[in-house]
Amino acid sequence: MPKTLLDKVWEAHTVADLPSGQTQLFVGLHLVHEVTSPQAFQMLRELGLPVLFADRTVATVDHIIPTHSEVRPFADAQAETMMSEIERNCREFGITLYDRASGHQGIVHVIGPEMGLTQPGMTIACGDSHTSTHGAFGSIAFGIGTSQVRDVLASQCLAIEKPRIRRIEVNGALPAGVYAKDVILHIIRTLGVKGGVGYAYEYAGSTIDAMTMEERMTVCNMSIEGGARCGYVNPDQTTVDYLRGRALAPQGDAFARAAAWWRDIASDADAPYDAVTRLDGTALTPVVTWGINPGQAIGVGERIPAVEAFTADERDVVEDAYAYMDWKAGAPIAGTRIDVAFIGSCTNGRISDLREAARVAKLGRVRSHVKAIVVPGSQDVARQAESEGLPEVFRAAGFEWRLPGCSMCLAMNPDKLSGRQVCASSSNRNFKGRQGSPSGRTLLMSPAMVAAAAIQGAVTDVRALLGGAR
């Protein structure tokens, strides 16, 4: 019987069928960071248990780490406590920690792939909802809570229900100035923020096939914003080529055997799906969110939709968004003045994102009323960018070049909005208060669109800028 990748990976990792109807699922790679793990390690201590597979557990620091200074102790005493705690926990339980001294520190969803830890056919868990990122490699990867982090530390397993599966096919070449970020924002806009609840998303079609691994990571990263706990792309030659030579990927003869297994794990051509959605990639434009969840998004040339355009069920959230964001229905989103521009995050903090943003940054200077920051996703990304001269490009245009971390995506470190500031952001969530000010406003868009907004001082169609550059 033909199977999906989800079926095959699930079967390979099933330890037992639990009386609850859930699966006891083996976790092939457990990624750990400083925010959702300290309580889990403490619970483990109280239970007197070791970490069962310490060699399949890898830690880094990203959420609370300051991006403007490497000095220890951190200025924020609580952040310093969290840093010390993960150092102690990794030492005590025998877990590798990629801290700044290692030279490979970064956002957990950036370093896993770039080091070759993330591989096709694995199950991957992390106490972070954007673990779905790793699905770009054809792994089944999802976020878990702290009690589940404890369970994985103790048993390398989770009690979890197998999701249903929706195949999302995007076909056709993307127009210039339209990026992977626009594709996933369009998918979420189409299927809604609840559309994926109970589902895994399989992304396919010629648009996805043509994407680089970094672009696929951007797409899979935001699966959770559509309600899907995981999303994946079937492994192909692009996947194999990306992994070849990575430090922690299989080496030598083992690589060829690995590549054969990776290809076998892909969905069979006639595999059954619970649902299928088809979208036209050629019709896409740059997308910008206008509301308070990632599904409230429009093309950059569109206007804030009227409440009547939504189902009765959605209208309360739409009215809430108008009030919070200070919109009137019918207003164009292009031209919206911004105060802050943020380029970075696990969605868009990789080298290709920085290259695209730099290409736009070369076309102007950050407007004087805008604070613009660029935060590489990892130390490896930062080194690559430095070797290409990107920090100089950004600085010359008036952007700040920072140290790697989650930064302004999530307000657990000094990078935060203040008051009612409007931020053009390459991150993943525009929830109320997400960027650190309880009244701060976030407009999600691609890194190139953020750079364009920074140099125009307002939301701008990056295609017009890039067109002028050619």
Binding site: S20, Q78, G127, G145, T146, S155, C157, P163, K194, W261
Partner: protein, 206 residues
């Protein structure tokens, strides 16, 4: 190992938390996650919905004197409650505020799983039923809302509505096996056997 704690019935004063797509950043703002314990999260529940920048109350339902009863609470919510960040701090905050069960139209997957791990049942019912329940508790919040996992009902005064939960999860609550660590470790030999047949853990030795 922890002791088995059966959860068959939760009774407490209702707290209506209206709205679809209430995300976990709203339930517990990120700045409260910069800590190594879950202590003290209860009072930070919905902090930015409850207080303005000067620390004045904004009139959120959690601060409404009609809903200030002490003791166990049962929340009534709409669709996709707990979406967004996987932070267990969200259900931990609600639990510490007193909420020990939730009745809603639907819950985000990760939030639901986190609640199971804490022994907090999340049961679902239809939109009409939630609308009736919200109207009833807002009209008179002085009764106990009773979530009965055995009977699969939520009872509020004269109002009895059927509620659902996946059968296996419900059995875990009824049997007291919702704390998964023990169950998972019971399969230690099968865990090793599974690892031994995964190609990427055996160097793709073939």
């Amino acid at each position: 190992m922890s002791q088995l704690v059966q959860v068959t019935r939760v009774a407490g004063r209702p707290i209506p938390l209206r709205g679809n797509d209430i995300d976990t950043d709203r339930i517990i703002p990120a700045r409260y996650l910069v800590a190594v314990t879950f202590d003290g999260l209860g009072e930070a529940s919905f902090r930015d919905e409850r207080f303005d920048a000067q620390g004045n109350l904004k009139g959120h339902v959690m601060d409404d004197p009609r809903y200030r009863a002490k003791g166990t609470r049962v929340a009534v919510v709409n669709k996709n409650f707990g979406c967004g960040s996987s932070r267990e701090h969200a259900p931990q905050a609600l639990l510490r505020w007193g909420i020990k069960a939730l009745v809603g139209e639907s819950f985000a997957d990760i939030f639901f799983g986190n609640c199971v791990a804490l022994g907090m049942p999340c049961v679902t019912t239809g939109s009409d039923e939630i609308a009736r329940l919200l109207a009833a508790v807002e009209a008179d919040p002085t009764q106990d809302l009773v979530v009965d996992l055995t009977a699969q009902t939520a009872v509020y005064g004269p109002l009895t509505i059927a509620v659902a939960m996946p059968a296996g999860i419900r059995n875990q609550f009824l049997a007291g096996t919702w704390d998964a660590t023990r169950v998972l470790l019971d399969a230690a030999p099968q865990i090793k056997a599974t690892a031994a047949r995964l190609p990427y853990l055996t160097g793709f030795a073939g």
